[in-house]
């Protein structure tokens, strides 16, 4: 798609005396090859021409490897193995391709008499890798070798053989860093698509688990898999996901966040409408709800849709721990979540407008600690929140060993020094600390960011209209959330519209043996999750061993 270039070159600022290259210049120096053009370009019968074409198209790149050889006896038939150094495993190429093609073809006595069906012979007897495809156009050939396949070309053939032999550097499976659990599987997704899908399939052995591949990005040509369970996921939902994905026409997909931003229902909302996780077990549990996962090559973050508000406040550990604890933790999380949004604004409105609500003794001590502070509560709160957010951001970006120092300095600045310097009151420090801790309680980072963001307008409202202002702000947020949808599912489901049956996984976390139905907005095909009467009970006393 050339129009991307057109736009870019026009916006580029031009320096005087050094004019930007024009389109003609690009055309003269180096030609770019578009997918549509390559798709129409067939392979020729002459090996030399084909190799020259590949070289020219790839700009004679240094990592392109072309190993020419001769096939069979009597001087043999010219052939070549083409692959990209670093993407393809050289050992596999040596052992399974070249060995067969050079040595064994001689031993088999392949020669001039086999001219007509030499390609079939190579395919069936010489190349012994598990996955082999044929390419008829230059496009297919390049698409293959640029993904890591090795191509075998033979003189006189207008087809090429693509053998899968990936050998790119891979990060091993590690514990996910953004979602930590005490109890639960330690595996996390990696950057490799195949590893990720295998992690999902290993947990879901049903033949109804379907993976559908879509290629996104005109230039990055990133593989994306749409994963769902047939019979659970609503077919219309799957269709909607695929149609939204196929709408995407961009230069590159570097992370699943790029996709997320292009398939959201409401792009102007501060709330995340697509769930993302690094945990295969979470993806599987959501697939079992009837949701659809989108696995992107090159990132450990898998997207899941639809994602209503409440899934961002649930952790997979809720279902691994005993349910009493899970309920308590869940409510702790809800309260912390609300606190991370409104705690600073409550402080501001109470100290500015509604002092009568504060118990007298506490009021006196607040007044005493604020005595030396020259700023109104809002400025005080804003300063501290700003400092805290800056420290947090710095802590993430800085090199790890420097980060330590920053957090120590930050603790000193936020804590003792700011109070003794009379910039903020000591209660404010407590409020900021509580808010900070609360915002880390949200199990999914994207929702915590939203709360961080919304906290500041809430503080402004609290400073101008007191609790009335806070309530107005909350109402705006509530109205906004009530009007949001994620892939057709109301964002506040199952609270509003109310599905009383689903509240057992929201207000509580009922024991697994009572969790017999899937969320009612999803999985309409098979609403029942399990058999009834799973409640464990000790064996009958009469029949027991005593």
């Amino acid at each position: 798609m050339f129009r991307f270039w057109k736009k870019r070159t026009r916006i580029l600022p031009r320096e005087k005396g050094n004019p930007a290259p024009s389109r003609e210049d690009y055309a003269q120096w180096e030609r770019s090859y578009e997918a549509d053009e390559l798709k129409k370009m067939p392979l020729g019968p002459r090996l030399k021409d084909n190799l020259a074409l590949i070289k020219r198209i790839l700009g004679n790149s240094s990592d392109l490897v072309i190993r020419e050889f001769r096939l069979g006896v009597d001087g043999g038939v010219p052939g070549a193995v083409v692959f990209i150094d670093g993407l393809t495993d050289k050992g596999t190429v040596n052992d399974t391709l070249l060995k067969g093609l050079t040595l064994e073809s001689r031993m088999a006595g392949l020669g001039g008499r086999d001219a007509g069906n030499i390609f079939a012979l190579v395919r069936n007897f010489m190349v012994n890798t598990s996955s082999v495809r044929e390419a008829a156009t230059v496009f297919e050939l390049l698409d293959g070798i640029l993904y890591g396949d090795a191509a075998v070309l033979v003189e006189g053939e207008t087809r090429a053989l693509l053998a899968t032999a990936p050998g790119w550097p891979v990060r091993s499976i590690e514990e996910p860093t953004s979602e930590n659990l005490v109890r639960g599987p330690r595996e996390g997704f990696t950057e490799l698509l195949r590893t990720n899908t295998s992690l999902i399939r290993r947990r879901l052995r049903t033949p109804n688990l379907v993976l559908e591949r879509i290629t996104l990005g005109e230039r990055t040509r990133t593989y994306v898999e749409v994963v769902y369970i047939r019979g659970l996921a609503d077919p219309r939902l799957v269709q909607e996901v695929k149609s939204r994905l196929s709408r995407i026409r961009v230069d590159g997909i570097l992370e699943s966040g790029n996709i997320e931003e292009l398939i959201e229902d409401n792009p102007y909302s501060p709330f995340p409408q697509v769930f993302r996780t690094e945990r295969p077990d979470r993806v599987v549990s959501m697939l079992l709800d009837g949701r659809v996962a989108i696995v992107t090559d090159g990132t450990p973050f898998v997207l899941v849709v639809p994602a209503e508000f409440i899934v961002f406040l649930q952790s997979s550990e809720d279902y691994y721990e005993r349910f009493f604890l899970a309920i308590a933790v869940r409510w702790l999380r809800y309260i912390a979540f609300v606190a991370s949004l409104i705690l600073p604004s409550l402080y501001i409105s109470l100290t500015t407008f509604h002092q009568e609500m504060i118990p007298t003794r506490l009021l006196i001590s607040i007044a005493a600690s604020r005595e030396g502070v020259p700023f109104p509560a809002f400025v005080e709160a804003f300063l501290m929140e700003f400092t805290f957010e800056a420290l947090r951001e710095a802590g993430i970006r800085l090199p790890r060993n420097v980060g330590q120092a920053v957090s120590i300095v930050g603790a000193l600045v936020i804590g003792q020094a700011a109070v003794s310097a009379g910039i903020v009151s000591s209660l404010m420090v407590i409020i900021v600390a509580l808010t900070g801790i609360s915002s880390f309680v949200a199990p999914v980072f994207s929702m915590a960011i939203t709360m961080r963001l919304l906290r500041f307008p809430m503080m402004v409202l609290a400073a101008t209209l007191g609790i009335f202002g806070v309530m107005m702000g909350l109402l705006v947020i509530l109205v906004h959330m009530a009007s949001l949808r994620s892939f057709g599912i109301p964002y506040l489901a199952p609270l509003a519209p109310l599905h009383t049956g689903d509240l057992k996984d929201l207000l509580m976390r009922v024991p697994l043996w009572a969790m017999d139905k899937r969320p009612s907005e999803l999985a309409k095909g098979d609403p029942l999750r399990q058999e009834e009467g799973l409640k464990p009970a000790p064996p009958d006393k009469k029949g027991g061993q005593g």
Binding site: L465, F468, V470, A482, S483, L492, A496
Partner: protein, 371 residues
Amino acid sequence: MQQDGRGNLIEEGRISSRQMAMLLFTLIISTVDVYLPAVVAGVAGRDAWIAVFLAVVYALVIWAVAVTLASRFPRQTIIHYSKEILGPFLGGLIGMLLLVYFFFVGASIVRILVEIMKSSFMPRTPLVIFAASVVLVACYALFGGLEVIARVNGILLPLGIAALLFVGLGSLPQVDFGQYLPVLEKGLGPVNWGGVILASTIAEIIIILMLYPYLQDRNRVGLNGLWALLGLGAAMLIGVLAIGLFTAEVTAAMNFPALEMVRVIRLGPQRTYLDIVIAAIWVGGIFVKVALVYYAVALGLAQWLGLRNYRPLVVPVGILMVALSVMAYHGLSDLLYTELKIFPGYSLSHALLIPLLLLVVAWLRGWRAKG
């Protein structure tokens, strides 16, 4: 517009009759427990609790008339079928009268909110700030449509009921039930009048005449509304606890007995002054009420004018509502006088007489446009 007997419905969202009942509950409870106990205590004295029972009975009559009428024309709002029943001129007039009624109810409730915030919490803030901010948020909700209002209510109502129970249970230890004796000291007359005043506020449930076509399960709305009314009765009984707390005379002299009830609650050794927290939750209820009547006005006006969309009318109607709420009353006493002397007749004539008239004429003309 009227050819297929349907009219233009404009709104595409549909709500369940349970959501409708919850909306009706919020619509009434957000006004009825705040200042009405004072009004009723002034009229019915210590027998206000009997007035509550009478009010529920009267309200059931209004509800029955409204639902019967609405169920005869299930695919239309009253703006359309009043024209069908009484002809385009008279019917249009009736439709306009009802729109003005809802508009007036909206403006009054905005003013009540403003008065409470102003007199109890922030006396030096200008009126229009509160009025404009609540209408602005309602405006945002209106662009989302009926479903959004119903969903917001679905979240807020449980909070509101929790707050109500908290107030009721929290002040219960200090209620002196001797205050309710003797019963019916002055006969049934004042009690009945108290019931009528309460019923005239509950009469706002005729908003169902505007919202009936947007229900998913229309046949259950009558029953669900009945439950909402019974729940309202219980909630109003919590409101009349004020008489047991403060005596009838003192309650009648109060502006907002509900806030005073909150102020007597003790969680520890001292009074805890949670009134602003309860008021904040109540602001949520008021917001739903404002949004709902505001919605009815904007939607009804669009239908009255034959527009395809009500959204262009949202902002103008909102500005007018803020303006009316600021200009209609001189102050709190003016507002309470209106509620006591003018609103009962005004409300009941619109909520009971108009639907009854339409019902009778429709019956005489042989019930058209069913289904």
